[in-house]
């Protein structure tokens, strides 16, 4: 079967199935069974269909492009030729890249196999073309499988978790002014409706063939997240959190818009791959930034150069007024010179940073991570799906997808931001007591890991961690959800000793914790996290080796690993180990129903095996390698903003020295973290309270989340409030006065008008009416009801008419 024609169809259908269920539930949701009970089945069925289609697509892909162990060095060309044979089926970039790979002998030859195309063109104006299209490579297929799989698990889970919504709900967290609690009908269908829409949007981002489409579904994902966080919108906290998430994301999207404009202004296209247009194919972003001619080395594209050198172009045009035809030729001739003089690199930098801003907002990086913990107000399945596995991963995915266009400077920015994020989030997670908040902060810090990995050049490592993290983090969230479902509280201090009551949850959560801390037997085998985290550490280490000025990044990663281990096991011990702290919580705690446990088991299995690479070389890393953008295998050296930056090639991190050190570091830090947690919360050799008392200011600093909310409140919110207060004061004091004056005048005039109306106009009308009335009363005397009188009238009238006529027409008769 032909993958080029089959994959878009399969994935497109997988993408549209949730939309179908969304529409269905939107219109017929309430009528689906009692309180819309069957809406869950509709949504689940849709997402299962998507999952099946995605798996079929994966099968197709693997059949077309078998996964083999990555070889570096000389074999690359043969591999490229092999890949070329299959890539010939694909078009666009895959094809071109394949050729290029075949020709340069260096290991940088392996271009990704990618299929790109458009389904439907929304808008075609000048060079700009907005279209609904696809860009499918191994990464796309993989993300499809991951997203649909997790979504399926969570749909199943949610259909059990949300059963409260099946009947009227009394929300105990909403206190009405009357003192009672809110009583409202259940919203079961609405939840799944939003869930389906979210899946549709997420898959849309994944399959998107150009940045415009990405942006559209980016916003759709945002609005879905707003719906879901604010699902209990009667709760003040929930609505506030929803608005917070949305607004914070707007900030990031603003930057993304800037990036889009920069790209469009400079390059005139938003397509990733080359577009087969009339008169040859118009080059896409990737081939523009990394032209095959230049061996896929990153360079400022000609368009940006010319765009930046606008004044020069203008001068040339002024000189060559006589023969306009020659202008382009001369510009083309001068471009190389301009590029060497640095024209347009800022533009490229800004474009990269702008796009990254969007990712910062979406996947909760350092300045904008404050919304994610609050987003835990939403139902736990939402937290698991949207805010741990998929949506927040969208940012990372976009960075990965956009990777070829990012210059070393941008990469450095990304790495630094990631490091800051992971450290801050980890520290906050240390002291959080809300189980879901702990997980939320761990999510933030893991996302920081990924960003950092991408920033330091670990493209495969970052995305690898993205996938594995999606598995175990959704697993953790679902476990916490089941715990909350059992205890009806989020506070870990009230829990404890639940392992006896709910063994399945405890077991699966333990697996999740082990996975996230990257537990494993060094050099032998480990859980999924073990592999991905090692890859990140290794890459960070090689990066810090490459440019010592930034070796802090490595320490951040290592410290992060320690902190992760600590707070995760703190969470597990506080929740499941020891003795119950709050009895009436422990008493009616119970194991969750099957429908909720089953996804836990499935996910835990995956959390274990997701990272394994089979002897044949089959495994996620190698699958990802197929999608590695052209030219990113090689070590890139560049940077003009922060001085010179060297982004080491990723395969260097696999070399023994670096790899061993990284693995050992990871193991030790993790073990240390676990031991410390056990000491404090299991064996109680060290009392956390005393530690907290010892570092009181630090503790409160962390407990208050580094005062970030207060900071933002002071920096942004308060000024805005003040300004708006001023504005409202002006409004009330001045504008309202003016308007009131106008209104008063109008009212006076209206009163005058009304007086005129009542007295004069109505007077006239009434006069007419009364005149008619009196006339009628007089006339009706004529109708005596006496037959004979009528006859008499008739006769008299006849005679009169006759006489009249004879008078008038006398002449006629006489004649």
């Amino acid at each position: 079967m032909e993958p080029a024609s089959q994959l878009p169809t399969l994935l497109g259908l997988a993408w549209l199935a949730p939309l179908l269920s969304f529409v269905a539930i939107l219109f017929f949701g309430p009528r689906m069974g009692h309180h819309g009970r069957n809406a869950a089945w509709v949504a689940t069925a849709a997402i299962v269909v998507s999952l099946v289609l995605s798996l079929t697509a994966l099968g197709t892909w693997l059949a077309a492009h078998p996964v083999v162990a990555v070889e570096h060095g000389g074999h690359a060309s043969a591999d490229a030729g092999h890949g070329d044979g299959h890539g010939a089926a694909g078009h666009g970039e895959g094809h071109a890249a394949g050729h290029a790979a075949g020709h340069d002998g260096h290991g940088a030859g392996r271009g990704p196999h990618a299929y790109a195309g458009d389904w439907y063109t929304l808008y075609q104006g000048g060079s700009l073309r907005l279209s609904i299209g696809w860009y499918i490579d191994a990464l796309t297929v993989l993300m499809f499988v991951v997203v649909t799989f997790i979504a399926t698990c969570i749909h199943v889970y949610a259909s059990g978790y949300m059963h409260d919504e099946l009947h009227d709900v009394t929300d105990h967290e909403v206190h009405l002014s009357s003192g009672g609690h809110l009583h409202r009908p259940g919203r079961f269908p609405r939840f799944f409706q939003a869930l389906s829409l979210f899946c549709f949007s997420m898959l849309g981002i994944v399959i998107a063939g150009n940045l415009a489409m990405v942006f559209i579904f980016w916003e759709l994902v945002g609005i879905c997240s707003w719906f879901l966080i604010g699902f209990y919108y009667e709760r003040k906290s929930a609505s506030t959190a929803a608005n917070k998430a949305f607004i914070v994301n707007r900030v990031g999207d603003f930057g993304m818009l800037i990036g889009l404009m920069a790209l469009w202004g400079g390059l005139g296209t938003l397509h990733f791959a080359d577009v087969a247009a009339a008169g040859g194919s118009r080059p896409g972003l990737f081939s523009l930034v990394r032209p095959a001619a230049a061996g896929h080395a990153l360079q400022v594209p000609d368009g940006m150069v010319a765009f930046a050198a606008a004044d020069e172009v203008a001068r040339i045009a002024a000189d060559r007024t006589l023969d306009p035809g020659g202008v382009d030729a001369e510009i083309a001739g001068r471009v190389v010179d301009w590029r060497s003089r640095g024209y347009g690199r800022w533009l490229l930098f800004i474009a990269g940073v702008g796009i990254f801003c969007g990712c910062v907002g979406k996947s909760a990086q350092f300045p904008l991570f404050v919304w994610l913990p609050d987003a835990m107000e939403g139902p736990t399945p939402v937290s698991a799906l949207v805010h741990s596995a998929t949506m927040v991963a969208a940012g990372v995915y976009l960075v990965g997808r956009f990777y070829p266009v990012l210059t070393p400077d941008v990469l450095l920015v990304i790495a630094v931001v990631g490091a800051i994020t992971l450290f801050i989030a980890a520290t906050i997670a240390l002291v959080a007591n809300d189980i879901k908040r702990v997980l939320a902060y761990s999510t933030v810090s893991q996302l920081g890991y990924m960003m950092l990995a991408l920033g330091v050049g670990g493209w495969a490592a970052g995305l690898f961690h993205l996938v594995t993290h999606a598995f175990f983090k959704s697993l953790l969230f679902l476990c916490s959800g089941s715990v909350i479902h059992a205890c009806h509280t989020n506070d870990m201090r009230k829990m404890g000793g639940l392992a006896r009551v709910m063994p399945w949850t405890a077991g699966t959560m333990l697996v999740g914790c082990l996975a996230i801390i990257g537990a494993g037997v060094p050099f032998v085998v480990g859980l999924s996290g073990y592999y991905s985290k090692d890859a990140i550490l290794a890459q960070a280490l090689s990066f810090s080796r490459a440019n010592p000025a930034w070796s802090v990044l490595f320490y951040a990663v290592a410290g992060g690993a320690f902190l992760t281990a600590f707070y995760m096991f703190r969470l597990w011990f506080m929740t499941f180990a020891g003795h119950p702290r709050d009895h009436h919580v422990a008493d009616h705690a119970h194991e969750s129903p099957r429908v909720m446990v089953a996804p836990l088991v499935v996910l835990s299995v995956l959390a274990v095996v997701a990272g394994w690479t089979l002897p044949g070389g089959f495994g996620l890393p190698n699958l990802l390698e197929q999608a590695r953008p052209s030219g990113t295998e090689a070590t890139a050296i560049g940077g003009f903003v922060f001085g010179q930056v060297t982004v080491p090639a990723e395969h260097e991190s696999h070399e023994g020295a670096i790899h061993v050190i990284a693995t050992l570091t990871a193991f030790c830090t993790a073990a240390a973290g676990v031991l410390l947690a056990a000491a404090m919360y299991l064996w109680r050799v060290v009392s956390p309270e005393t530690v907290a008392a010892m570092f009181r200011p630090l503790y409160s600093f962390l407990a208050h989340r580094w005062w970030f909310d207060e900071l933002y409140d002071a920096i942004f919110v308060q000024p805005v409030l003040g300004i708006s207060r001023l504005a409202s004061g002006v409004d009330r004091g001045v504008i309202d006065r003016i308007i009131d004056g106008v209104a008063w005048t109008a009212r006076q005039l209206a009163g005058l008008d009304a007086w005129i109306d009542r007295t004069i106009v109505d007077g006239l009308v009434n006069a007419t009416a009364s005149a008619t009335w009196t006339a009628g009363m007089e006339m009706k005397k004529l109708q005596t009801g006496r037959l004979r009188q009528y006859v008499m009238f008739i006769v008299i009238g006849t005679v009169a008419l006759f006489v009249l006529a004879s008078m008038l027409f006398r002449s006629a008769h006489a004649g």
């Binding site: 005397k781 109708q783 005596t784 009801g785 006496r786 037959l787 004979r788 006859v791």
Partner: protein, 133 residues
């Protein structure tokens, strides 16, 4: 001798001159029109004067009849001195329909009168003034 007998008979009859002239004038349409006019007027006056519903009804009959006289007169070829009549057969047809409709009208009117009598115990049309303004 017959002439003589005749003459004597006539002189004995002594018909006045104007009567002779009157009688000897050939009959024209106008004569019929006069009759029709008289009938019509009588009918109208009857309708006006009579307080008895039946009287009014008779007045109506008279009126219709007067009209009929005119129609027939105009339709008759004899009254036109052999010339083609003004209306021809149409006049007679119209008269025929008038008679038929008059019969129908009489039937309904009688029924109404009877109802009126049932309700008011009288046939005095002046008592039927419920519809006065």
């Amino acid at each position: 001798m017959s002439q003589a007998v005749l003459a004597g008979f006539v002189t004995a009859a002594a018909v006045p001159t104007f009567a002779a002239g009157f009688l000897s004038a050939p009959v024209g349409v106008a004569h019929y029109l006069v009759v029709g006019a008289v009938l019509f007027t009588a009918g109208v006056v009857c309708m006006v004067v009579k307080r008895n519903a039946l009287g009014v009804l008779m007045g109506i009959e008279l009126v219709l009849n007067g009209a009929n006289v005119n129609f027939v007169a105009f339709s008759s070829p004899d009254l036109r001195g052999g010339g083609p009549p003004a209306l021809g057969l149409d006049g007679q047809a119209i008269a025929l329909f008038v008679i038929l409709l008059a019969a129908a009208e009489a039937a309904v009117a009688l029924a109404i009168t009877l109802n009126f009598y049932n309700n008011h115990a009288t046939v005095d049309v002046d008592r039927a003034d419920e519809l006065k303004g």
